[in-house]
């Protein structure tokens, strides 16, 4: 019997061994796959188990956290949610994160290794430090001025500091309150569905994720290309441009909305936004130089991040001459985000240099100690500095006596270019009102703000939609807010 008892004991030992090996399989070998299974709620529980770090504007948080004592414990709250939604995005238990909440998620939720006091500290302790804070470059008053200026109309505003690329304002309208999407209650799902079904697309970030035909504001780029190429040497010499201008190789005639464009000088044409003159200029500059200049301003750059990705603004690089003529006045396939057009204005204001825009000034630990700073951003020369000086002159003329009078600020140097962009099949859509501008305060040694405004208000009377009428006052308010602060 003894021998068989031993056999039975060996059998039991084998059972034990099987359990141990299987435990090793489940807990170690397959552990990562199970931890990463989307149906496993542990990651979310840990993630929402502590308050999220805050996003700061002008030193004060625009976000907060609310303790619900539920399984996914802390809910995100937003102060002035609709105002800052295009910057913060949302952080939702159900629908994930967007914009800064998304790109800075590791820091805000506390898993960023930079937050740990020592390398690998989090892995050893299995804990996570409190979430860090994100300090934005936004100017609170500029942001408010832009949002108030749009006043619920569809449109967007982007403002940057020309010398650095700091984003001072980023507004999209109509907006929404991201706190509607925080939390676990059934209302979240209802809000999500309502916001997604809304024809006004309140969750669309028009300032960076939507491209528009830039219309006449693109003439800044065309003028820069023409000046750099030497096609135009004297701003005041007549350009020998016919009205109407027949697009090369076609019978299509291009006209202007105003008079006095025939044979106008570049200065006059810029002031009064003559399509015929600039279409002809673009063709004279040629596709290669037009493309090069547009790309130097940031067009066709597929990798703009502020730190969340910005939709690519496009300037078509394979065009016939008629298409080039249209593209040179911001039509045909030319499309730009408001942020891109703010960069165009900023390049003019900054001596021809384009600074990459950025939105995060620095990141800090919960206590305020700095974890990371924005650092210097690369710059590109979009045009010769001399060209920038002359373009500044042209843009100031627009404000002084052209279409941009409503952008003028008493006691400050202001340059602008307005635009009314056609779109839709056969230009049937309501035109977009544009204004790009920059401003230099009385005591400033260089322009301190560049703004792009686009208004796409379908409800307005078609005749009233002009860049000068609708967009310029908003640009003025934003610039005044920055200069005043």
């Amino acid at each position: 019997m003894t021998r068989h008892i031993r056999h039975a004991a060996v059998f039991c030992a084998l059972l034990l061994l099987a359990l141990l090996v299987n435990a090793l399989r489940v807990q170690v070998v397959e552990s990562a796959a199970h931890d990463g299974n989307p149906a496993n709620r542990r990651a979310s529980i840990a993630r929402y188990g502590q308050p999220r770090g805050d996003i700061l504007v002008g030193g004060a948080p625009v976000t907060g956290s609310r303790d619900t004592h539920e399984q996914l414990r802390y809910e995100r709250t937003y102060r002035e949610g609709p105002l800052y939604a295009p910057v913060t995005g949302f952080a939702s238990q159900e629908y994930g994160t967007t914009f800064l909440e998304h790109t800075e998620d590791d820091l805000l939720s506390g898993v960023d290794p930079m937050l740990a006091p020592l390398p690998l500290w989090n892995d050893v302790t299995r804990g996570r430090p409190p979430g860090g804070n994100v300090v934005t470059t936004l100017d609170r008053r500029a942001q408010q001025a832009a949002y108030a200026g749009l006043d619920g109309r569809k449109g967007a505003v982007a403002a940057v500091e020309p010398a650095t690329g700091r984003v001072l304002a980023l507004v999209s309208s109509p907006s929404y309150d991201p706190s509607l999407l925080s939390g676990n209650d059934p209302g979240v799902e209802a809000s999500w569905e309502r916001l997604n079904a809304d024809p006004d697309k309140p969750m669309l970030n028009r300032a960076v994720r939507q491209t528009y035909p830039p219309g006449s504001t693109f003439k800044v780029v065309t003028a820069a290309a023409a000046l750099d190429a030497g096609v135009v040497t004297d701003l005041d010499r007549p350009t020998d441009s016919p009205v109407p201008y027949r697009l090369p190789g076609t019978t299509t005639r291009l006209t202007n909305s105003g008079d006095g464009c025939a044979d106008a000088s570049v200065r006059e044409a810029f002031e009064w936004s003559c399509n015929t003159v600039f279409a002809k200029l673009g063709v004279e500059v040629g596709l290669a130089r037009m493309s090069r200049t547009a790309q130097a301003f940031g067009f066709n750059d597929t990798d703009v991040r502020i730190p969340f990705p910005v939709a690519t603004s496009t300037f078509d690089t394979s065009l016939d001459r008629a298409q080039l003529a249209l593209s040179s006045i911001g039509q045909y396939n030319t499309r730009a985000t408001p942020l891109q057009m703010a960069m165009v204005a900023a390049a003019v204001a900054n001596g021809g240099q384009v600074r990459e825009p950025y939105l995060v000034e620095r990141t800090t630990r919960h206590g305020g100690a700095t974890v990371g700073t924005a650092g210097s951003r690369s710059a590109r020369q979009a045009m010769y500095p001399a060209t920038a000086v002359r373009l500044r002159e042209l843009m100031e003329d627009v404000v002084r006596e052209g279409t941009g009078k409503r952008a003028a600020i008493r006691g400050a140097r202001v340059g602008a270019k307005t635009g009314t962009a056609q779109h839709g099949i056969g230009n049937s859509g309501t035109p977009y009102a544009w204004c790009v501008s920059w401003a230099q305060g009385k005591r400033d040694i260089e322009p301190s703000v560049a703004v792009a405004v686009v208004v796409e208000d379908g409800s307005a009377n078609r005749g009233e939609i002009t860049g000068g009428g609708m967009a310029a006052p908003i640009a003025r308010a934003v610039m005044a807010a920055v200069l005043g602060s």
């Binding site: 019997m1 008892i5 039991c12 034990l16 359990l19 489940v26 807990q27 199970h34």
Partner: protein, 459 residues
């Protein structure tokens, strides 16, 4: 301790004066047992405090009372062993105390997540009852061979207990509970020990006939129907009842217990082949015919199928998630989320909490504790010389081993899941009481095993 031991040995020496002088002087090792019990109680109290600190940031209010209660119970049990079974193996009692203590900690910890359903107080009452039963068995049962006389009483009692739940409504698909005055009892648990006693007694009495009588068919020596008939009938009856009650785990346990004991008693490897064949046939038949079982097998083969179907993770998937979350070192007591498993976290799935919060390290330690308990049972079986005692020890140890394998294998996805209680760990009064009875019997047989060497020359 040493002086007491020496005194007792001196008495034995005098008592054995008529017989040849003792060739072997066995140490009694009661001091080791006491030290291990102290460690077991301290570990349990430490776990209890760790849970309180992790969940509420303070020491739990009942820590002192809890430790004192468990300590007093364990000490009384130790005294009973010291007085009535002084030669007993010093390991089973501390292992029982530690496992029961950890079980109480885990249940208390899970109670904090489910304020409406508190199980720890009842478990504490049942543990007290279990240890009381342990003391009674150790004190009242002077010699395990007495049990041999009650073989047929045992089997009748076992069958009655097994059939009792049929009269009561099913709970969660299994008809294995009896509810009386708010307490639910699983009579099948008690039946395990009774059936092991019967198998041991019957096989001890008939093992020669089973092994050598009868005809030889093919290459298997088949015993005569008169010898084989009753035991196969009992076995078929019990497994049949369990299948009716849908208690898969216990039917698997009985099957395995029967095959192992038959093999040990007769030494015929053919029994194992027959057993495996029957098991395979039975498994296929039940798996095909019984939807409840079929579902379990499907879950085992495809634990994440319900996730892919968009229905969310099922219990097994949640259990696997919990084990994975523990990793090697665990999240720490009170810091896991095994409560996500939902239903039966404190009973069938309590091991998932151990796996998540104590990690692979803690889980392995638990498995090794069970392994040690089983090994001590087998060791007692090897040391004993009466066939009944040997078979009883082997049977009891096998019950523990199979039970641990079936439930732990189920919740970790090694074998299909069958509802069963992890010995000592899981919430469940009948289970705790039964397991204390098993430990008491192991103490008794190990005492006999070592006592028989004392005063005799050869084993």
């Amino acid at each position: 301790m040493t002086s007491a031991g020496a005194g007792a040995e001196a008495t034995t020496a005098i008592a054995a004066a008529g017989t040849p002088a003792p060739a072997v002087r066995l140490p009694r090792r009661r001091g080791i047992e006491l030290a291990l019990i102290v460690v077991a109680v301290l570990l349990s109290v430490y776990g209890y405090c760790a849970v309180g600190l992790a969940k509420n940031g303070t020491l739990p209010p009942g820590a002192a009372g809890y430790g004192a209660g468990l300590g007093v119970l364990a000490l009384v049990a130790h005294l009973a062993v010291r007085l009535r079974a002084p030669y007993a193996d010093p390991l089973p009692l501390p292992i029982g105390v530690l496992l029961n203590g950890i079980g109480l900690v885990l249940i208390y910890r899970l109670d904090l997540e489910t304020p409406g359903d508190r199980a720890a107080p009842a478990q504490l009452v049942w543990s007290t009852l279990g240890i009381t039963l342990f003391i009674l068995v150790v004190a009242a049962l002077r010699d395990h061979r007495v049990l041999q006389r009650y073989a047929y009483v045992s089997v009748v009692a076992a069958l009655v207990l097994l059939m009792l739940p049929i009269l009561f409504p099913a709970v969660n698909g299994a008809r294995i509970w009896v509810r009386v005055a708010g307490f639910s009892i699983q009579p099948g648990e008690f039946a395990k020990v009774l059936l092991a006693v019967f198998f041991a007694a019957y096989l001890a009495a008939n093992r020669t006939a089973l092994a050598y009588a009868g005809r030889r068919i093919w290459c298997v020596q088949v015993p005569t129907g008169r010898v084989l008939g009753p035991i196969v009938a009992i076995w078929l009856l019990s497994v049949g009842v369990l299948v009716l009650e849908r208690d898969l785990g216990t039917s698997l346990l009985f099957f395995g217990l029967f095959v192992v004991m038959l093999y040990v008693a007769t030494g015929r490897t053919g029994w194992i082949a027959v057993g495996l064949l029957l098991a395979a046939l039975g498994a296929v038949a039940v798996g095909r015919l019984e939807p409840h079982v079929h579902g379990r097998i499907e879950d085992w083969l495809h634990p994440f199928a319900s996730i892919e179907a968009g229905l969310g993770p099922n219990q097994l998937a949640q259990s696997l998630f919990a084990f994975s979350a523990g990793g090697v070192l665990g999240t720490g007591l009170g810091l896991g989320h095994s409560v996500l498993i939902g239903f039966a976290t404190k009973s069938d799935f309590i091991l998932a909490t151990a796996g998540e919060e104590l990690g692979l390290a803690g889980l392995s330690a638990l498995f090794l504790l069970y392994g040690l308990l089983v090994e001590r049972g087998y060791r007692a079986g090897l040391a004993l010389r009466d066939p009944f005692g040997r078979l009883l020890a082997v049977g009891l140890a096998t019950i523990v081993a199979l039970q641990v394998f079936v439930i732990a294998g189920g919740v970790t996805g090694l074998i299909p899941l069958t509802g069963m209680a992890m010995p000592f760990l899981a919430q469940g009064g009948s289970s705790v009481v039964t397991n204390w009875a098993i430990v008491a019997l192991l103490i008794r047989v190990s005492d006999s095993a070592r006592r028989q060497y004392d005063g005799s020359t050869a084993p």
